[in-house]
Protein backbone atom coordinates (compact mmCIF):
# COMPACT_ATOMS: atom_id res chain seq x y z
CA UNK A 1 0.00 0.00 0.00
CA UNK A 2 2.87 2.33 0.85
CA UNK A 3 4.60 1.98 -2.51
CA UNK A 4 1.43 2.75 -4.46
CA UNK A 5 0.71 5.72 -2.17
CA UNK A 6 4.21 7.16 -2.67
CA UNK A 7 4.32 6.79 -6.46
CA UNK A 8 0.79 8.09 -6.96
CA UNK A 9 1.58 11.01 -4.65
CA UNK A 10 4.70 11.95 -6.64
CA UNK A 11 2.93 11.91 -9.99
CA UNK A 12 -0.25 13.62 -8.78
CA UNK A 13 1.79 16.26 -6.97
CA UNK A 14 3.45 17.45 -10.19
CA UNK A 15 0.17 17.82 -12.06
CA UNK A 16 -1.61 19.29 -9.01
CA UNK A 17 1.02 22.02 -8.56
CA UNK A 18 0.67 23.05 -12.19
CA UNK A 19 -3.13 23.10 -11.91
CA UNK A 20 -2.86 25.08 -8.66
CA UNK A 21 -0.80 27.81 -10.29
CA UNK A 22 -3.07 27.98 -13.34
CA UNK A 23 -6.22 28.08 -11.21
CA UNK A 24 -4.78 30.97 -9.19
CA UNK A 25 -3.56 32.90 -12.24
CA UNK A 26 -6.98 32.73 -13.87
CA UNK A 27 -9.16 33.29 -10.85
CA UNK A 28 -10.68 36.48 -12.28
CA UNK A 29 -11.92 34.76 -15.44
CA UNK A 30 -15.59 33.79 -15.09
CA UNK A 31 -15.33 30.66 -17.25
CA UNK A 32 -12.36 29.32 -15.27
CA UNK A 33 -14.02 26.40 -13.49
CA UNK A 34 -15.68 24.86 -16.51
CA UNK A 35 -12.43 25.04 -18.48
CA UNK A 36 -10.37 23.58 -15.63
CA UNK A 37 -12.79 20.68 -15.25
CA UNK A 38 -12.73 20.10 -19.01
CA UNK A 39 -8.92 20.07 -18.97
CA UNK A 40 -8.77 17.69 -16.01
CA UNK A 41 -11.32 15.31 -17.54
CA UNK A 42 -9.63 15.33 -20.96
CA UNK A 43 -6.24 14.71 -19.35
CA UNK A 44 -7.63 11.85 -17.27
CA UNK A 45 -9.18 10.08 -20.24
CA UNK A 46 -6.15 10.79 -22.41
CA UNK A 47 -3.75 9.35 -19.84
CA UNK A 48 -5.59 6.00 -19.86
CA UNK A 49 -5.28 5.88 -23.64
CA UNK A 50 -1.59 6.85 -23.58
CA UNK A 51 -0.86 4.30 -20.83
CA UNK A 52 -2.43 1.52 -22.86
CA UNK A 53 -0.38 2.55 -25.91
CA UNK A 54 2.98 2.89 -24.11
CA UNK A 55 4.62 0.02 -26.00
CA UNK A 56 3.42 1.25 -29.39
CA UNK A 57 4.42 4.86 -28.72
CA UNK A 58 7.91 3.79 -27.66
CA UNK A 59 8.42 1.87 -30.91
CA UNK A 60 7.48 4.82 -33.12
CA UNK A 61 10.18 6.77 -34.95
CA UNK A 62 12.71 3.95 -34.65
CA UNK A 63 12.50 3.67 -30.89
CA UNK A 64 12.46 7.32 -29.90
CA UNK A 65 8.66 7.71 -30.02
CA UNK A 66 8.34 8.19 -26.27
CA UNK A 67 10.94 10.95 -26.19
CA UNK A 68 9.37 12.76 -29.15
CA UNK A 69 5.91 12.36 -27.63
CA UNK A 70 6.99 13.81 -24.27
CA UNK A 71 9.02 16.58 -25.89
CA UNK A 72 6.02 17.48 -28.07
CA UNK A 73 3.62 17.60 -25.13
CA UNK A 74 6.00 19.72 -23.08
CA UNK A 75 6.72 22.07 -25.99
CA UNK A 76 3.02 22.71 -26.59
CA UNK A 77 2.42 23.27 -22.87
CA UNK A 78 5.36 25.68 -22.65
CA UNK A 79 4.09 27.60 -25.68
CA UNK A 80 0.62 27.94 -24.15
CA UNK A 81 2.08 29.20 -20.88
CA UNK A 82 4.27 31.68 -22.73
CA UNK A 83 1.26 32.92 -24.69
CA UNK A 84 -0.72 33.27 -21.45
CA UNK A 85 1.95 35.45 -19.89
CA UNK A 86 2.21 37.70 -22.92
CA UNK A 87 -1.60 37.93 -23.13
CA UNK A 88 -1.83 38.81 -19.45
CA UNK A 89 0.88 41.45 -19.78
CA UNK A 90 -1.28 43.05 -22.46
CA UNK A 91 -4.74 42.64 -20.94
CA UNK A 92 -4.19 41.82 -17.28
CA UNK A 93 -4.06 45.38 -16.07
CA UNK A 94 -7.03 46.40 -18.17
CA UNK A 95 -8.91 43.36 -16.96
CA UNK A 96 -8.43 44.42 -13.37
CA UNK A 97 -9.10 48.12 -13.90
CA UNK A 98 -12.02 48.48 -16.23
CA UNK A 99 -13.44 45.13 -17.16
CA UNK A 100 -16.74 46.78 -18.14
CA UNK A 101 -15.24 48.62 -21.06
CA UNK A 102 -13.74 45.55 -22.62
CA UNK A 103 -15.51 43.27 -25.05
CA UNK A 104 -17.40 40.30 -23.67
CA UNK A 105 -15.06 37.86 -25.42
CA UNK A 106 -12.03 39.30 -23.68
CA UNK A 107 -13.60 39.44 -20.24
CA UNK A 108 -14.93 35.90 -20.34
CA UNK A 109 -11.43 34.86 -21.42
CA UNK A 110 -12.65 31.90 -23.47
CA UNK A 111 -9.66 31.70 -25.78
CA UNK A 112 -7.23 32.37 -22.97
CA UNK A 113 -8.79 29.75 -20.72
CA UNK A 114 -8.88 27.12 -23.45
CA UNK A 115 -5.11 27.45 -23.87
CA UNK A 116 -4.54 26.92 -20.15
CA UNK A 117 -7.05 24.07 -20.02
CA UNK A 118 -4.85 22.43 -22.65
CA UNK A 119 -1.82 22.84 -20.35
CA UNK A 120 -3.80 21.21 -17.52
CA UNK A 121 -4.83 18.34 -19.81
CA UNK A 122 -1.25 17.80 -21.01
CA UNK A 123 0.18 17.87 -17.48
CA UNK A 124 -2.33 15.24 -16.40
CA UNK A 125 -1.71 13.25 -19.57
CA UNK A 126 1.98 12.92 -18.75
CA UNK A 127 1.74 12.21 -15.06
CA UNK A 128 -1.53 10.28 -15.27
CA UNK A 129 -0.33 7.82 -17.87
CA UNK A 130 2.71 6.96 -15.74
CA UNK A 131 0.48 6.50 -12.70
CA UNK A 132 -1.97 4.31 -14.59
CA UNK A 133 0.87 2.19 -15.94
CA UNK A 134 2.42 1.77 -12.52
CA UNK A 135 -0.88 0.78 -10.89
CA UNK A 136 -1.59 -1.63 -13.73
CA UNK A 137 1.81 -3.22 -13.20
CA UNK A 138 1.20 -3.55 -9.49
CA UNK A 139 -2.14 -5.18 -10.19
CA UNK A 140 -0.71 -7.52 -12.83
CA UNK A 141 2.18 -8.65 -10.62
CA UNK A 142 -0.25 -9.83 -7.96
CA UNK A 143 2.13 -8.72 -5.20
CA UNK A 144 -0.52 -6.59 -3.57
CA UNK A 145 -4.26 -6.98 -3.12
CA UNK A 146 -6.63 -4.83 -5.13
CA UNK A 147 -7.82 -3.23 -1.92
CA UNK A 148 -4.32 -2.17 -0.86
CA UNK A 149 -3.52 -0.80 -4.34
CA UNK A 150 -6.72 1.26 -4.48
CA UNK A 151 -6.29 2.38 -0.87
CA UNK A 152 -2.68 3.42 -1.38
CA UNK A 153 -3.52 5.12 -4.65
CA UNK A 154 -6.36 7.05 -3.05
CA UNK A 155 -4.12 8.25 -0.20
CA UNK A 156 -1.44 9.38 -2.64
CA UNK A 157 -4.02 11.06 -4.84
CA UNK A 158 -5.58 12.96 -1.93
CA UNK A 159 -2.23 14.13 -0.53
CA UNK A 160 -1.01 15.26 -3.96
CA UNK A 161 -4.27 17.06 -4.67
CA UNK A 162 -4.14 18.70 -1.26
CA UNK A 163 -0.65 20.05 -1.95
CA UNK A 164 -1.86 21.57 -5.22
CA UNK A 165 -4.81 23.13 -3.44
CA UNK A 166 -2.48 24.43 -0.74
CA UNK A 167 -0.41 26.22 -3.35
CA UNK A 168 -3.60 27.68 -4.86
CA UNK A 169 -4.86 28.85 -1.46
CA UNK A 170 -1.48 30.35 -0.69
CA UNK A 171 -1.61 32.37 -3.90
CA UNK A 172 -5.03 33.78 -3.05
CA UNK A 173 -3.55 35.23 0.14
CA UNK A 174 -0.98 37.24 -1.78
CA UNK A 175 -1.90 40.96 -1.74
CA UNK A 176 -3.55 42.04 -5.04
CA UNK A 177 -0.67 44.36 -5.86
CA UNK A 178 1.82 41.48 -5.94
CA UNK A 179 -0.59 38.84 -7.22
CA UNK A 180 -0.11 39.46 -10.93
CA UNK A 181 3.67 39.61 -10.67
CA UNK A 182 3.88 36.42 -8.62
CA UNK A 183 1.57 34.28 -10.76
CA UNK A 184 3.05 35.42 -14.04
CA UNK A 185 6.55 35.03 -12.60
CA UNK A 186 5.84 31.44 -11.60
CA UNK A 187 4.19 30.66 -14.95
CA UNK A 188 7.26 32.07 -16.68
CA UNK A 189 9.52 29.72 -14.69
CA UNK A 190 7.14 26.84 -15.33
CA UNK A 191 7.37 27.42 -19.08
CA UNK A 192 11.18 27.58 -18.87
CA UNK A 193 11.20 24.37 -16.80
CA UNK A 194 9.17 22.61 -19.48
CA UNK A 195 11.47 23.87 -22.23
CA UNK A 196 14.44 22.49 -20.31
CA UNK A 197 12.70 19.10 -20.13
CA UNK A 198 12.05 19.25 -23.88
CA UNK A 199 15.82 19.55 -24.33
CA UNK A 200 16.43 16.64 -21.96
CA UNK A 201 14.13 14.33 -23.92
CA UNK A 202 15.68 15.35 -27.24
CA UNK A 203 19.15 14.62 -25.86
CA UNK A 204 17.89 11.26 -24.59
CA UNK A 205 16.59 10.57 -28.10
CA UNK A 206 20.03 11.50 -29.47
CA UNK A 207 18.56 14.36 -31.53
CA UNK A 208 20.37 17.14 -29.68
CA UNK A 209 23.92 17.29 -28.34
CA UNK A 210 24.05 17.66 -24.56
CA UNK A 211 26.81 20.32 -24.91
CA UNK A 212 28.03 19.59 -21.38
CA UNK A 213 26.80 16.71 -19.29
CA UNK A 214 26.40 17.72 -16.57
CA UNK A 215 27.09 21.44 -16.74
CA UNK A 216 27.25 21.48 -12.96
CA UNK A 217 26.49 19.16 -10.05
CA UNK A 218 24.60 20.63 -7.10
CA UNK A 219 23.45 17.28 -5.72
CA UNK A 220 25.33 18.04 -2.50
CA UNK A 221 23.12 21.11 -2.07
CA UNK A 222 19.76 19.72 -3.18
CA UNK A 223 19.17 16.21 -4.54
CA UNK A 224 16.63 15.86 -7.36
CA UNK A 225 15.37 12.72 -5.64
CA UNK A 226 14.39 14.54 -2.45
CA UNK A 227 10.90 15.95 -1.98
CA UNK A 228 12.14 19.56 -2.07
CA UNK A 229 14.19 18.72 -5.15
CA UNK A 230 11.13 17.29 -6.88
CA UNK A 231 8.99 20.27 -5.92
CA UNK A 232 11.51 22.74 -7.28
CA UNK A 233 12.04 20.56 -10.34
CA UNK A 234 8.35 20.85 -11.21
CA UNK A 235 7.89 24.49 -10.25
CA UNK A 236 11.04 26.22 -11.43
CA UNK A 237 12.85 23.46 -13.33
CA UNK A 238 15.58 22.81 -10.77
CA UNK A 239 18.12 20.24 -11.95
CA UNK A 240 20.98 19.07 -9.76
CA UNK A 241 22.88 17.86 -12.85
CA UNK A 242 21.59 19.67 -15.94
CA UNK A 243 23.07 19.28 -19.39
CA UNK A 244 24.33 22.42 -21.11
CA UNK A 245 21.58 22.36 -23.72
CA UNK A 246 18.92 22.31 -20.97
CA UNK A 247 20.32 25.52 -19.56
CA UNK A 248 20.32 26.99 -23.09
CA UNK A 249 16.63 26.09 -23.59
CA UNK A 250 15.74 27.33 -20.10
CA UNK A 251 17.36 30.72 -20.45
CA UNK A 252 16.26 31.20 -24.07
CA UNK A 253 12.64 30.64 -23.03
CA UNK A 254 13.01 33.07 -20.12
CA UNK A 255 14.44 35.76 -22.37
CA UNK A 256 11.92 35.25 -25.21
CA UNK A 257 8.87 35.31 -22.94
CA UNK A 258 10.12 38.27 -20.91
CA UNK A 259 10.80 40.16 -24.13
CA UNK A 260 7.33 39.27 -25.41
CA UNK A 261 5.74 40.49 -22.17
CA UNK A 262 7.65 43.75 -22.41
CA UNK A 263 6.92 44.38 -26.08
CA UNK A 264 3.20 43.74 -25.78
CA UNK A 265 2.72 45.55 -22.49
CA UNK A 266 0.42 48.52 -23.15
CA UNK A 267 1.85 51.94 -22.33
CA UNK A 268 0.17 54.00 -19.64
CA UNK A 269 -1.07 56.47 -22.27
CA UNK A 270 -2.85 53.89 -24.42
CA UNK A 271 -4.32 52.34 -21.31
CA UNK A 272 -6.27 55.44 -20.37
CA UNK A 273 -7.67 55.96 -23.88
CA UNK A 274 -8.98 52.45 -24.38
Amino acid sequence: MLSSAIIVFREVLEAALIIGIIAAATRSLPTRNIWLITGIAAGGIGSMIVASLTGQIAELAEGIGQELFNAGILAVAALMLAWHNIWMARHGIQLARDAKQLGAELVSGGREMSALALVVALAILREGSETALFLYGLLASGDETLFSIIGGGAIGFLLGGLAGFGLYAGFLNIPPRLFFASTSGLILLLAAAMASQVARFLVQADLLPSLANPLWDSTWLLDNGSLTGRLLHTLIGYEAMPSGIQVVFYSTTLILVLTGMRVFRPRARTLSTT
Binding site: G63, L133, F134, Y136, S141, P242, L256
Partner: protein, 105 residues
Amino acid sequence: MGKLFILLSLYSFSVFAAENEVALTIRDHRFEPAEVRVPAGQKIKLIVHNQDTTPEEFKSHELNREKLIAPGAKVNIFIGPLNPGRYPFFGEFHEKTARGTVIAE
Protein backbone atom coordinates in the same frame (compact mmCIF):
# COMPACT_ATOMS: atom_id res chain seq x y z
CA MET B 1 12.92 28.43 -31.11
CA GLY B 2 11.75 26.19 -33.98
CA LYS B 3 14.65 27.22 -36.17
CA LEU B 4 17.10 26.68 -33.36
CA PHE B 5 15.69 23.17 -32.98
CA ILE B 6 16.22 22.25 -36.60
CA LEU B 7 19.67 23.78 -36.71
CA LEU B 8 20.81 22.01 -33.59
CA SER B 9 19.34 18.68 -34.60
CA LEU B 10 21.04 18.82 -37.99
CA TYR B 11 24.25 19.67 -36.21
CA SER B 12 23.89 16.73 -33.86
CA PHE B 13 23.52 14.17 -36.64
CA SER B 14 26.92 15.02 -37.94
CA VAL B 15 28.51 15.01 -34.50
CA PHE B 16 27.63 11.49 -33.41
CA ALA B 17 28.38 8.66 -35.74
CA ALA B 18 29.97 5.70 -34.01
CA GLU B 19 28.31 4.41 -30.87
CA ASN B 20 28.85 1.81 -28.19
CA GLU B 21 26.00 -0.50 -27.33
CA VAL B 22 25.37 -2.04 -23.94
CA ALA B 23 22.57 -4.53 -23.30
CA LEU B 24 20.61 -4.63 -20.03
CA THR B 25 17.82 -6.95 -19.00
CA ILE B 26 15.07 -6.44 -16.45
CA ARG B 27 13.96 -9.73 -14.90
CA ASP B 28 12.05 -10.19 -11.64
CA HIS B 29 12.32 -6.43 -11.12
CA ARG B 30 16.12 -6.52 -11.18
CA PHE B 31 18.64 -5.21 -13.68
CA GLU B 32 21.07 -7.70 -15.20
CA PRO B 33 23.91 -6.97 -15.09
CA ALA B 34 23.57 -4.61 -12.14
CA GLU B 35 26.92 -3.04 -12.96
CA VAL B 36 27.78 -1.83 -16.43
CA ARG B 37 31.27 -0.67 -17.38
CA VAL B 38 31.46 1.81 -20.23
CA PRO B 39 34.24 3.95 -21.69
CA ALA B 40 34.26 7.53 -20.43
CA GLY B 41 33.96 10.39 -22.89
CA GLN B 42 31.88 8.46 -25.42
CA LYS B 43 28.25 8.23 -26.31
CA ILE B 44 26.66 4.96 -25.19
CA LYS B 45 23.45 3.32 -26.32
CA LEU B 46 21.84 1.34 -23.51
CA ILE B 47 19.49 -1.31 -24.87
CA VAL B 48 17.13 -2.27 -22.06
CA HIS B 49 14.94 -5.33 -22.46
CA ASN B 50 12.09 -5.66 -19.98
CA GLN B 51 11.41 -9.40 -19.67
CA ASP B 52 8.90 -8.94 -16.85
CA THR B 53 5.18 -8.94 -17.40
CA THR B 54 4.93 -5.54 -15.68
CA PRO B 55 5.99 -2.09 -16.92
CA GLU B 56 9.08 -0.39 -15.51
CA GLU B 57 10.48 3.11 -15.59
CA PHE B 58 14.23 3.40 -16.08
CA LYS B 59 15.33 6.42 -14.13
CA SER B 60 18.60 8.06 -13.14
CA HIS B 61 19.13 11.50 -11.67
CA GLU B 62 22.87 11.22 -12.27
CA LEU B 63 22.48 10.26 -15.92
CA ASN B 64 19.54 12.64 -16.26
CA ARG B 65 17.36 10.02 -17.92
CA GLU B 66 13.87 8.57 -17.56
CA LYS B 67 12.08 6.16 -19.84
CA LEU B 68 9.03 3.96 -19.51
CA ILE B 69 9.50 0.38 -20.65
CA ALA B 70 6.39 -1.64 -21.44
CA PRO B 71 6.28 -5.35 -20.50
CA GLY B 72 8.34 -7.35 -22.98
CA ALA B 73 9.62 -4.22 -24.71
CA LYS B 74 13.18 -3.42 -25.69
CA VAL B 75 14.12 0.27 -25.66
CA ASN B 76 17.18 2.36 -26.46
CA ILE B 77 18.46 4.98 -24.03
CA PHE B 78 21.32 7.18 -25.15
CA ILE B 79 23.72 8.30 -22.40
CA GLY B 80 27.02 10.14 -22.24
CA PRO B 81 29.60 11.23 -23.09
CA LEU B 82 30.30 10.71 -19.38
CA ASN B 83 33.10 11.81 -17.11
CA PRO B 84 34.77 8.92 -15.29
CA GLY B 85 32.67 7.97 -12.27
CA ARG B 86 29.70 6.02 -10.97
CA TYR B 87 26.19 6.75 -12.19
CA PRO B 88 23.42 4.91 -10.31
CA PHE B 89 20.12 4.15 -12.02
CA PHE B 90 16.93 2.47 -10.81
CA GLY B 91 13.51 1.25 -11.81
CA GLU B 92 11.10 3.77 -10.40
CA PHE B 93 8.26 1.25 -10.15
CA HIS B 94 10.33 -1.24 -8.14
CA GLU B 95 12.86 0.96 -6.46
CA LYS B 96 13.80 -1.54 -3.75
CA THR B 97 15.08 -4.27 -6.06
CA ALA B 98 15.65 -2.68 -9.46
CA ARG B 99 18.97 -0.90 -8.95
CA GLY B 100 22.11 -0.63 -10.99
CA THR B 101 25.16 1.45 -11.75
CA VAL B 102 26.89 2.65 -14.87
CA ILE B 103 30.63 2.89 -14.27
CA ALA B 104 32.43 5.14 -16.72
CA GLU B 105 36.20 4.67 -16.87
